[in-house]
């Protein structure tokens, strides 16, 4: 088993901003906070699967905020994650339509110094649609776009893993895939707005 040390908030944020340290940061967050934060869900009408789903969602949001420089460190990482977890789970309870009593209980229990993260949390539904659109591109498009944009691979590296004649063919394919995705997004104004929120905050 890999030995994972606890990281200070500063080390954690540095690791998230450096792509090479992201896995290390994620593992440290799981080690330090998963049990505590999953309890928040499991103790409020949720089950283990709910807790895992919400925690993943919170992490995606948190990392996005840190990488965009929108986490300003006004609260500790733990407090911030706690707040995001609460809001995300509350939104999910609302969506499930059994929130009234729980919401009341939840809001009463909210600490006064807890940061308000409600505006930072991107709609779950919209994010699901983003995932679905990328899936619809097909495996090849998805692979090329992820390797190029998310993994920062060069065209030469991408070519090595795919059966194309040369880099230019891969470049053209990448362009077509991106345009295809762009058109799919354009066709969904709600999704367009959500992505604008992700992009610009």
């Amino acid at each position: 088993m890999e030995l994972i040390k606890s990281l200070s908030d500063g080390e954690l944020l540095d690791a998230i901003q450096q792509d090479s340290g992201l896995d290390k940061a994620l593992k440290a967050i799981y080690r330090d906070y998963f049990e505590t934060l999953s309890w928040l869900v499991k103790n409020n009408s949720g089950n283990q699967q709910d807790a895992e789903d919400i925690f993943q969602e919170v992490l995606v949001n948190f990392i996005g905020l840190v990488q965009q420089g929108r986490f300003r460190g006004e609260s500790s990482v733990k407090t911030f994650l706690f707040s995001m977890m609460r809001h995300t789970w509350l939104n999910e309870l609302k969506r499930r339509g059994r929130s009234e009593i729980r919401e009341l209980k939840y809001e009463k229990a909210r600490p006064q110094d807890e940061p308000d993260v409600s505006e930072l949390i991107v709609e779950r539904e919209a994010k699901k649609q983003v995932m679905s659109l990328v899936e619809q591109l097909g495996d090849t498009c998805k692979e090329i776009l992820l390797m190029f944009y998310y993994e920062n691979r060069s065209m030469k590296e991408i070519l090595a893993g795919l059966e194309y004649e040369n880099e230019q063919v891969v470049r053209n394919k990448k362009y077509k895939c991106l345009k295809q995705l762009e058109q799919m997004i354009k066709a969904n104004p709600f999704l367009t707005q959500t992505l604008k929120n992700i992009l610009h905050g």
Binding site: L26, V60, K127, E151, E182, K196, L199
Partner: protein, 254 residues
Amino acid sequence: MDNSTQYELVKYLDGEMTESEKAEFEQKLATDEQLKMELESLQLAKAAVLHYGLKERVSDVHGQMMKELKTEAPVKKMGNVRRIIRYSVAVAASVLLVFLAIEGYNFYRLSPNRLFAENYTAYELSTTRDGAAAPETAIEKAYRQKDYSVVIRLNATSVLTVKDVFLTAMSYLETGDVARAISNYQVVLADAGAGNNPMLKDVTDYYLALAFLKNRDFDEAIALMNAIQSNPAHLYKEKFSSRYINRVKRLKWR
């Protein structure tokens, strides 16, 4: 939008322009609203890819960490049998702990004087005398009156019977002079032990064993107590149980 502009847009989006190309393109962007909207659309598509990539990465780490965390802290589901065994062991351990605590406390409180006091019964002279019996000696009289100092004084000045010597030993024991009590008991045994007076021998054995105990002569005390206990005909056999003798043995460890 022509192919050349499309090519430029993607090149800008991907950060592949030189500084001069970038500056020139940004001038165009500032004046061309259509171009700006096209760029924003492509940026949204890129943001969707980045979001997808991040979600996948978190999901990968999540899978790894769930395995790891579950390995570290497995949820143990006990079966009924296992639960019963566990509780039984816990109860047994608790009982053992209480037992050890009591034994420890008893061991702490154990002392020769305490054991002596538990077993000791003062010797009483018989009050029923028939006419044929020898007259009561001065020592017997003084002992009956519990005048132990007189008994001891008479011992030094009188011609004594073996019973007088026994009563003198008893008087020394009563007054706390254990060493002299032991000497006198041993004199009695030298005489009565030859089969002259079995009843006096048995009672002397009993008090001598207790005198040894009080005098911290544990080996002698234990040997004599064992001899008394193992002799079915001994009059004081019941006075020394195995438990009592074991407690005397424990005194040696203190």
